[in-house]
């Protein structure tokens, strides 16, 4: 696939606008409050769209497509059981404390509510993980661009080695994000995230439309792929009767409660967008407005995966193995949209435990895009991919520079300095964060397993966090010692559980079982969900026990930080859509309807 002049034109226009928005926002970034919190002056709808966009990184767009191809519409559980209920919860119940406490970051809330050590632990792990995450995502993007071969021609024309495509992709993306955040801070990031949101939709919606036309619509997908692909709740009664290898309890507790609430209700990358809102009401409505859009995102990120698998028959034609889908008849198209995974070391197809070639699911969405978009639309599609990558990365970088400046630098390095000083530190932290992400991306490209390893460590650290915030906000008796020891106990439990269990068909090692295999899960996903459940429970119980044995903070210090000691917010007079509770109920109702529709 060669890019035409129009495609380059579209991509260039995008880059010019993104940088332009950075420059315009820089005129408004005069103080720390402007740079780190966008002056707390952004209206709810803008924060809401930025909220979605910051969480619609390239990893999600590619990963959800891959998961759609592998597991079918059940992938939508990540939205309809996962994200939405948690987003409603933070908007209705938790935002009053985040926004009302005037904390500048999530770790800072922990300092106000608990103590310095709990904040320190949360700040340092968050900063580290955010950087690593952005490095992993940068690596994935660069690798993808290399695999798609879209930039081969221009690099050949410039007599540059093809290996430089990887470097070029990383450096270009990193530099653009650096410029607009360095200049405009959170405001630059948020304005751009709104723009990027519309571009992501503009790039993927027509792909779904064309793809569905080709496979005969939703009915066509149902007949081609069979019920296991098109029903989200089919066979969920037992782990062995569905593709995810998870039963309904593991799914709702592990994913729906622990992991989703842990991410959507405590991760500062998420919370920061709402903290930038111009009023308490707008801050509460931010995640709710986002939920209203988020619940339909599966249709543009997961459906391409289903369409791609419906159009794929590569393993069958190659004569190596039966079609990837057991049930239903596979339409033959040449060549398959999803290629066979090739081992980069040997150049041979990678085989699964039963000796069948594995499909490279990560290429489902990008290949579909190259297949159906002619020159012109390819530019729009690649721009969407680039926009999703940048919005995700910018989300991480803005959260990092704030946590670094306020929760690490101001807390431990220089306590009392001028606002201008911290503004400068924030800009330098942006630069440092991006350089460190690039370094992490190269680390990933050097060591094959490091990506898996990092994600594992993040899972250990993330799983228990929600218990700490939940107890902190809703039980005034929770103490700092309880929170800190609870977090440590949760992370430790996660690691031990991982060390003693193993997904089916895997060998002990990075996938688990490095202590002793006492239990085997039907899938890696099931193992992840159960690790989260155990870690959360350990943190929850430990925090309670230690809190009861230690001295709580005086109640006067907890006003505005804990539910029972904070005056209730009276419902505002105004239009119905200004009422967070009503909005929350509406969002949950639609989500239930979606679950029923695709059951």
């Amino acid at each position: 696939m060669h890019l035409g002049a129009v495609d380059w034109g579209v991509i260039s226009l995008y880059l010019v606008f993104v940088l332009g928005i950075g420059i315009v926002s820089s005129r408004m970034a005069k103080s720390g409050n402007d740079f780190f919190l966008a002056g707390r002056a952004i209206p709810a709808w803008v924060c809401g769209l930025a909220f979605i966009s910051a969480n619609l990184g390239a990893q999600e767009v590619i990963g959800m497509g891959a998961s759609g191809a592998k597991y079918g519409i059940a992938t939508a559980h990540f939205y309809w059981i996962g994200a939405i209920p948690a987003m409603v919860f933070i908007g209705v119940f938790m935002m009053p404390f985040y926004y009302g406490s005037k904390a500048r970051s999530a770790p800072e809330y922990l300092r106000m509510r608990f103590d310095e050590k709990t904040r320190g632990l949360n700040a340092v792990t968050f900063a580290l993980m955010t950087i690593l995450n952005s490095g992993i995502s940068m690596y994935a993007l660069a690798k993808l661009i290399q695999t798609l071969h879209v930039f081969d021609a221009p690099f050949a024309a410039l007599h540059l080695p093809q290996a430089w495509i990887f470097h070029g992709a990383i450096l270009t993306a990193a530099t653009v994000v650096l410029v607009y955040i360095y200049m405009g801070g959170l405001r630059g990031a948020i304005y751009n995230e709104v723009l990027q949101f519309f571009l992501i939709v503009a790039g993927f919606a027509p792909l779904v439309w064309l793809g569905l036309r080709q496979v005969g619509g939703w009915e066509g997908l149902q007949t081609t792929l069979g019920p296991s692909y098109t029903h989200a709740w089919a066979g969920m009664a037992h782990a062995s009767t569905n593709k995810l290898g998870v039963d309904w309890f593991g799914l709702t507790m592990g994913l729906g409660f622990v992991l989703s609430f842990g991410y959507w209700c405590t991760d500062f990358l998420v919370v920061q967008r709402a903290m930038a809102a111009n009023s308490m009401s707008a801050a509460r409505r931010t995640p709710l407005i986002a939920a209203g859009v988020k619940m339909f995102i599966p249709f543009i990120v997961i459906l391409p995966g289903l369409i791609a698998i419906a159009l794929t028959s590569a393993p069958d034609r190659a004569g190596h193995a039966p079609p990837p889908v057991a049930a239903g008849h596979i339409v033959q198209h040449e060549p398959g949209v999803i290629p066979i995974k090739i081992d980069s070391a040997t150049g041979k197809p990678m085989l699964d435990a039963r000796g069948r070639p594995q499909l490279d699911y990560d290429l489902a969405t990008p290949n579909l895009l190259l297949r159906y978009f002619p020159t012109g639309m390819v530019g729009v599609g690649l721009t969407a991919l680039l926009a999703s990558f940048m919005s995700g990365m910018a989300g991480g970088v803005t959260a990092f520079n704030t946590v670094f400046t306020y929760d690490i630098y101001q807390a431990y390095i220089r306590r009392k300095a001028s606002d201008q000083h911290y503004l400068m530190v924030g800009r330098l932290a942006t630069l440092f964060g991006i350089v460190a992400s690039v370094a992490a991306a190269y680390l990933c490209s050097q060591f094959n397993n490091i990506n898996d390893f990092l994600q594992l460590v993040m899972a250990f650290v993330n799983a228990p966090v929600f218990a700490t915030f939940l107890l902190g906000m809703f039980w005034k008796r929770t103490t700092g010692h309880g929170a800190f020891i609870g977090l440590a106990a949760g992370t430790l439990t996660a690691a031990i559980h991982h060390g003693m269990t193993l997904p089916m068909d895997d060998l002990p090692g990075l996938k688990g079982g490095w202590i002793a295999v006492t239990h085997t899960y039907a899938s890696e996903m099931a193992q992840n969900f159960w690790i989260a459940i155990w870690a959360w429970s350990a943190c929850f119980i430990t925090t309670i026990v230690v809190s009861l044995a230690t001295k709580p903070k005086p109640e006067a210090e907890l006003a505005g930080l804990v539910y029972s000691l904070t005056p209730k917010i009276m419902p505002q007079k105004g239009a119905w859509y200004m009422n967070p509770v009503l909005l929350g109920v509406i969002m949950l109702t639609i989500t239930v309807a979606l679950n029923l529709l695709f059951r």
Binding site: V10, L13, V46, G376, V380
Partner: protein, 72 residues
């Protein structure tokens, strides 16, 4: 100084939309259609994007004429 984010969104979508729609009008029709399953997706989607951009610009202009506080 405040500015309305609908302005850059409108301008960018209008520009990209017109560019892509023009490609759909002037390009090699057979090749375009063959690529995207018999649909001139460049023309159709380009027009939709340009239309969306135009609506954003109109909304921003109306807000400015009313003298509203810009939403950003």
């Amino acid at each position: 100084m405040l500015f309305d984010v609908r302005l850059p969104i409108g301008l960018l979508f209008l520009a990209i939309g017109l560019l892509v729609a023009a490609t759909g009008l002037t390009g090699d029709k057979a090749a375009l259609d063959a690529h995207s399953a018999g649909v001139n997706i460049d023309l159709i989607w380009g027009a939709i994007m340009a239309g969306f951009g135009a609506i954003m610009l109109v909304l921003a202009a109306l807000a400015r004429r009313r003298g509203d506080e810009p939403p950003l």
